[in-house]
């Protein structure tokens, strides 16, 4: 099986990585770049724990080949805070108590960040629709939805 050398931008840093052709973006982030904030949940595009921004849009990184990412711009949960300052969604989810075990949180933060980028003032149903691909087994979602509303107000 082959390897490919790809160059991409991850959290504003240019990285050049040799990846096996069957490696997913998720595996590359975790195993090659040690960015373990992005989680591996279902490996089937259902749970959203692996959600990252690819060229500004959220995708399930378990469903993207690393080899496809030549030239791509990736943002993971590690890239949301800027200059030591947590992003609005990160601050809001702490404030509302939207984190319990924390496994879904990185994906939730990415999906919520993408939602607020395309719709600065979403309704509750728009928030719930945008987060439908991010499963949480702890919180019951109420405080996560509250966090997105709070972030929209900040």
């Amino acid at each position: 099986m082959g390897f490919q050398r790809i160059t991409l931008t991850v959290n504003d840093l240019v990285e050049t990585v040799d990846v096996p052709t069957n490696m997913t973006l998720l595996q590359m982030l975790r195993e090659k770049l040690s960015l373990t904030g992005t989680k591996n949940g279902c490996t089937a595009g259902e749970c959203g724990a692996c959600t990252v921004l690819m060229n500004g849009e959220p995708v399930n990184s378990c469903m993207v080949l690393a080899a496809e990412c030549e030239g791509a711009n990736i943002t993971t949960v590690e890239g949301l805070a800027k200059g030591g300052q947590l992003s609005k969604v990160q601050q809001a989810i702490i404030k509302t108590g939207g984190v319990q075990c924390g496994f879904c949180t990185p994906g939730m933060l990415i999906s919520a960040t993408a939602l607020l980028a395309r719709n600065a003032n979403p309704s509750e149903s728009e928030i719930r629709e945008a987060l439908v691909g991010n499963l949480c087994r702890c919180t019951g979602y109420v405080r996560i939805v509250d966090a997105v509303k709070e972030a929209a107000r900040m």
Partner: protein, 297 residues
């Protein structure tokens, strides 16, 4: 122990630069290579061991696959690499084919729709494909590139069975074209999942209607059903009911029953055959009534 997070099996990844090169490679490696765009179905099947594929041939950089164009005379063309989210948010689609935008929006989650494509949904030929019924009743025609060049296939002749289509080794569906919709067209897609949004369909019903002088009722309805037959299925019997007599609440109910009687679904983990049949009746009635309310105003 079963690994709950299987990686992808060993495979090669090829990024051809032209359709001719891609078709030739796929034909020369029939059974080992397959075209690949968003991967949302493909990766699941590879991980589950259902597909044994040696090479994934990425089609996303080939000519014509990124097109999403509308022409007031020719209609709409959607390329193979155009994602569901792009279709659902495109101004021309929302204006002229809003039922297609609605069907695209009903698929899975926002992040999955950033990779999933209409053409992928069609080529996977799942009886549950949410966008296929709407594409069928909008008279979609597939533009296919094979080893002997381009040819077209109407969607109504495309499916042979679950996961089976008329495509031959080397064929790549480049795009789907839709004619200008009839004047006054209204459509909707009703989907029953285990959750309100985000799930696969237990039953899906795509309905459209428009006024016409060609039927006794003065209207023509098209009704396509998902997850209730081996292939996406258009219920001509239910359509005939709505063409032949003046449309009333009773006739709409009758059409729902005709739709139910025209299908033979299976029992599976998502629902029993009996339940599916009743849901076909109810959702057809609901969808036709909704369309009727809008076109009869």
């Amino acid at each position: 122990m079963i690994n709950p997070h299987p990686g992808l099996p060993e495979l090669e990844y090829l990024k051809p630069t032209s359709l001719i090169e891609a078709s030739k490679f796929l034909a020369d490696h029939a059974g080992e290579a397959r075209p690949f765009s968003g991967g949302t179905d493909c990766f699941v099947r590879l991980r589950d061991g259902i597909w044994k594929t040696g090479t994934l041939v990425d089609v996303k950089q080939l000519e014509g696959v990124k097109d999403l164009t509308f022409d007031a005379k020719k209609g709409l063309t959607i390329g193979a690499a155009v994602t569901m989210n792009k279709v659902a948010s495109n101004a021309d689609v929302l204006k002229h084919y809003p039922n297609l935008a609605e069907a695209a929006r009903s698929v899975a989650s926002y992040q999955l729709r950033n990779r999933a494509t209409i053409i992928g949904n069609i080529c996977n030929a799942s009886p549950a494909g949410d966008t296929i019924g709407t594409c069928m009743i909008l008279d979609g025609v597939l533009n296919v590139h094979g080893v002997n060049g381009f040819y077209t296939v109407p969607l109504s002749n495309f499916f042979l069975g679950p996961g089976k289509t008329v495509l031959k080794p080397g064929d790549i569906v480049v795009s789907i074209s839709f004619p200008i919709p009839p004047k006054g067209l209204v459509g909707t897609y009703k989907k029953l999942g285990r959750n309100t949004i985000g799930d696969l369909s237990i039953v899906g019903v795509a309905v459209l209607g428009y006024p016409t002088a060609e039927t006794k009722s003065g209207y023509r309805f098209r009704i396509a059903l998902a997850s209730v037959a081996p292939t996406p299925y258009e219920s001509f019997k239910a359509e005939a009911v709505l063409a032949e007599s003046k449309i009333t609440a009773e006739v709409i109910s009758e059409a729902g029953v005709a739709a139910m009687d025209s299908v033979n679904p299976i029992d599976d983990v998502r629902g029993s055959a009996r339940y599916r049949k009743f849901m076909v009746r109810n959702l057809t009635r609901e969808a036709v009534a909704e369309v009727w309310k809008k076109i009869s105003k």
